[in-house]
C-alpha cells in the first residue's frame, strides 16, 4: 500500500505533463514539436537498435569513468589538502583560479593536446566534476570535530586508520554533497565533449539529428539524456541514504530534542 502511494507521487506529475503535451499537440502542425505518439515511435526505433551500442553505451561509459575518476581524485586530493595546513595555504589560491575556468573552453585545448579521443572526453568530464568533490572534501576534512579528533588520538588511531575511521566518515556528508553536484555537471560535460568534432555519442547524435532536420529523433535524444539524469539521481539517492543513515538519524534526534 505504501509502495503504491510512493509510486503514485512519483508518476503523477510526469503523467499529467504528458497528457498536457498530448492535448496541446492534437491536430497541431508545428514541424519542430512532435506529438507524444510519434516521439515514442521514434524513440524505440532510434535507440533500441545499433545506436544503443554505438552511441549510448560509449557515452555512458565515458561519463561513469569520468565521474568515478573525478570522485577519487577529489576525495584523495581533498583529504590531503584538508589535512596538511601548508599544502592548503599553498594550493587554495590556485584552486580558485582553476575552478573558475569553465570546462567547455578546455575542449579545444584538450583536443589539441590529446586528439579527438575517449581520453580527451573523459578529461573534459574530470576537469569539471573534480571541483565540487575536491572543495567539499577539503571543507569536510577541516570540519572534523576537535573532541572526536582528540579521542581518536588518545586511542592511538593515527595515520591511515585516522583517515579511514575518523576523517572519511566524518566528511562523508560534505563529500556526498559534492558528488551530487558532480553528477549533474558530468552529464552536461559528457554532451559538450561530444559536440565538437566527434563521430559518436549521445551529444554527437543529437546534433546530427538537429542538423538533418530529424526533429522527433532529436527530441528523443533529449529524452534519453533526461532519463539518464533521473536514473543517476535515483542511484545516488539510494547510495546516500545508506551511507548517511547515521547522519540523518542523528539529525532527526537533534531536531526532535
Amino acid at each position: 500500500m505504501k509502495a503504491l502511494k510512493t509510486l503514485g507521487y512519483v508518476l503523477a506529475l510526469p503523467v499529467l505533463l504528458i497528457l498536457l503535451w498530448w492535448v496541446s499537440t492534437l491536430g497541431a502542425v508545428n514541424f519542430f514539436v512532435p506529438t507524444p505518439a510519434s516521439l515514442v515511435g521514434k524513440f524505440g526505433q532510434v535507440w533500441f537498435g545499433p545506436r544503443f551500442l554505438s552511441d549510448v553505451l560509449p557515452s555512458v561509459g565515458r561519463l561513469l569513468v569520468g565521474v568515478v575518476a573525478a570522485i577519487v581524485i577529489g576525495v584523495v586530493g581533498g583529504v590531503l589538502i584538508g589535512s596538511v595546513r601548508w599544502l592548503r595555504a599553498l594550493l587554495e589560491p590556485v584552486l580558485e583560479f582553476f575552478r573558475a575556468i569553465p570546462p567547455p573552453v578546455l575542449v579545444p585545448v584538450l583536443i589539441l593536446l590529446m586528439g579527438i579521443t575517449d581520453t580527451m572526453k573523459i578529461a573534459v568530464i574530470i576537469s569539471g566534476c573534480v571541483w565540487p568533490v575536491l572543495l567539499n572534501t577539503i571543507e569536510g576534512v577541516r570540519a572534523v570535530d576537535g573532541v572526536l579528533s582528540d579521542s581518536a588520538h588518545t586511542y592511538g588511531i593515527d595515520g591511515w586508520a585516522r583517515v579511514r575511521y575518523l576523517v572519511l566518515p566524518s566528511a562523508s556528508p560534505q563529500i556526498l554533497a559534492g558528488v551530487r553536484q558532480s553528477l549533474s555537471l558530468g552529464l552536461i560535460l559528457m554532451v559538450i565533449s561530444e559536440m565538437f568534432a566527434s563521430s559518436s555519442g549521445l551529444g554527437f547524435t543529437i546534433v546530427q539529428f538537429q542538423r538533418s532536420f530529424a526533429i522527433p529523433e532529436m527530441w528523443s535524444g533529449i529524452v534519453v539524456l533526461g532519463l539518464l539524469g533521473v536514473s543517476m539521481s535515483f542511484i545516488f539517492q539510494w547510495a546516500e541514504r545508506n551511507i548517511l543513515r547515521w547522519y540523518n538519524g542523528q539529525k532527526e534526534v537533534e531536531n526532535a530534542a
Partner: protein, 283 residues
Amino acid sequence: MQPDPTPEAMLSVRGLKKVYQTDGGDIEAVRNLTFDLRAGELVCLVGPSGSGKTTLLKCISGLMAPTEGEVLLDGKRVSGPPKKMAVVFQEYGRSLFPWMRVRDNVELPLKNQGVPKAERDKLVDEALEAVGLAHVPRSYPWQLSGGMQQRVAIARAIAYQPEVLLMDEPFAAVDAQTRADLEDLIRTIWKKFGVTVLFVTHDIDESVYLGERVIILSSSPTVVQEDIVIDLPVDRDQLETRSLPRFTELRHHVYEQIQLAKKGHRPAAAGSPADSTAGSAAG
C-alpha cells in the same frame, strides 16, 4: 629543582608549566604543578573554574606539550598519547563515533591495536557488561541518553585496558540523578579493574565522594593549593557516605580552600619568590 617522584608512582607530574602564546601576549595557564599518583589510586583534581584543569589534562594525556616540566607514566616521559592511558571527555556527544554502533565504538581502539578477534570480543563484552550496557550493542550512540553515551565512552576506555584512566569533568553535562549513578559506577570500576584514576571535576561534593585523595588547584596561573587524603570508608554510598560527619568536614575544608583560591590566595611554597604577587591578579 623538583623533588624526585616517589618510586611507586604510576603517574608523575613534575614542575609542569604551560604558557599559551597568543596575539594578545602570553597567557600562563599552568604555572608549576607537581604531584604523583600511586598505582591503583583514585585521585580527584578540583579547582576553581579557569584554573587550567583541561590544559593540565591535555598535557598529561600527551595531546599537548608542556612549556616546561614533564609528565612521567610508569617512569617514562609522556611525549604523545601513551598506550597505557585512556581519556574520558566531558563532551560525550562529541567523543564517540556517531557512524559506528555502540559495540564498534568500544571495539575500534582494540582493533586498531591489532588485538585478536576472540580476545577483542571478550574485552568488549566485559566492558559493556561492567557499565550496564550489554543490552544495546547494536544501537548508535545518538540513539542513547546522555548518561548512557557517557557509559559507552567509559566502556571504551576500560576495554582498552589502560593503566591510567583520565576523566575530564565527565559528568558535568548529565543530570543529577544520572550523575550519582555514574559516580558509583566509577568507584565500582576502579575497584574491579584496579586502574589508576585521575578524575578532574569542578564539583566539590563529587571530588570528596569519589576520591581517595583530592588535589586542590589554585586559581590561574595554577599551582597545587593543597593535597588532602580522603579518609572515608572504601565502600561508599550516596546516602550514607554523604551524611557522615567526616564527609561534611572534608567538604567544608575543600570548599574553604577553593574559596581562598578564588580570592587569589596561594600556598606559601608556590612558584618562585619573585612572582609571588604576579599571579594574584588573575582568575
